[in-house]
Assembly symmetry: C2
DNA sequence: CTTGACCATATACCTTGGTATAAGGTCAAT
DNA sequence: ATTGACCTTATACCAAGGTATATGGTCAAG
């Protein structure tokens, strides 16, 4: 049930150094240690690493991922603040989904034009993602 | 109709150096020049820069963006190859959308639990993005 | 009781994606 | 014909996100 850093690294397919780096950065809680000083992890550490890797692929920075990981439900006033932050994150994610859907539609059109053998030598990919420039950020 | 590098940079809100950097990297075609050697751009250069910036926010590397920008419809055999690449990109984008939707659902549940004042002190954000690990890449 | 595979810390290095700076040419306006 | 705001190339530097390496301790197996 308790994993060494090497076992966690293997399971999540990341470099050992990366885990220690995340610990230093504050993305990973400081784990308990054996008497000899070896780090010991529960297996949710593997899930945490996989979450981080996925979120990175989706364009989130380590700082943003840290915020995402910090979101959880609390009592009272802390709850309101947490809910506000969560709703902000939902907005960000929602916008990112819309952008990707737009890109997907353009790629669809591109593939369709191709099967129809209608050569379009200007760059149609550029049609995508052209508005909402001023609202995002 | 012809823009200097500074005008393009202003319009797209990027650093001038970034445009020259993209040119070196091959993301930007080498522009025509004035007799004095000044770069001259058509205004689609601005669209191209905006596309690059958006795609970066969506988690694409410059190398991937270069491939996206290289996709276009051609005649004959080149068309088939282009179509295959386009369909691959669509798969990547589609998977990314699914991942984000999953993250969104988790954030939704988190926000809902909070309004209902049901404190959940384990980290619920981790529920997200947990399967399909072995199929992606 | 030693060998090999682990673990620890500390420090140096690498890649990606830029940004800044130095040294100088161009050009429109005064 | 000079000033200021542009442009050129070349080179150096920077931040983020790791990765490698040096030096040494731990531990189970033979």
């Amino acid at each position: 049930m308790a994993l060494t850093i090497g076992q966690v690294a293997d399971a999540a397919d990341v470099n050992i150094q990366t885990i220690r780096y995340y610990e230093r950065r504050g993305l990973f809680p400081t784990p308990r240690r054996t008497p000899a000083g070896y780090r010991l992890y529960a297996d949710d550490a593997v899930a945490r690493l996989r979450f981080i890797k996925h979120a990175q692929e989706l364009g989130f920075s380590l700082r943003e991922i840290q915020e995402l990981l910090g979101l959880r439900v609390r009592h009272g006033a802390a709850c309101d603040a947490g809910e506000r932050k969560t709703r902000q994150k939902i907005e960000v994610v929602q916008q990112r989904i819309r952008d990707l859907q737009r890109m997907r539609r353009t790629l669809d059109r591109l593939a369709a034009a191709c099967t129809a053998r209608r050569p379009t030598d200007d760059c149609p990919i550029l049609e995508v993602l052209e508005d909402h420039d001023d609202i995002s950020h």
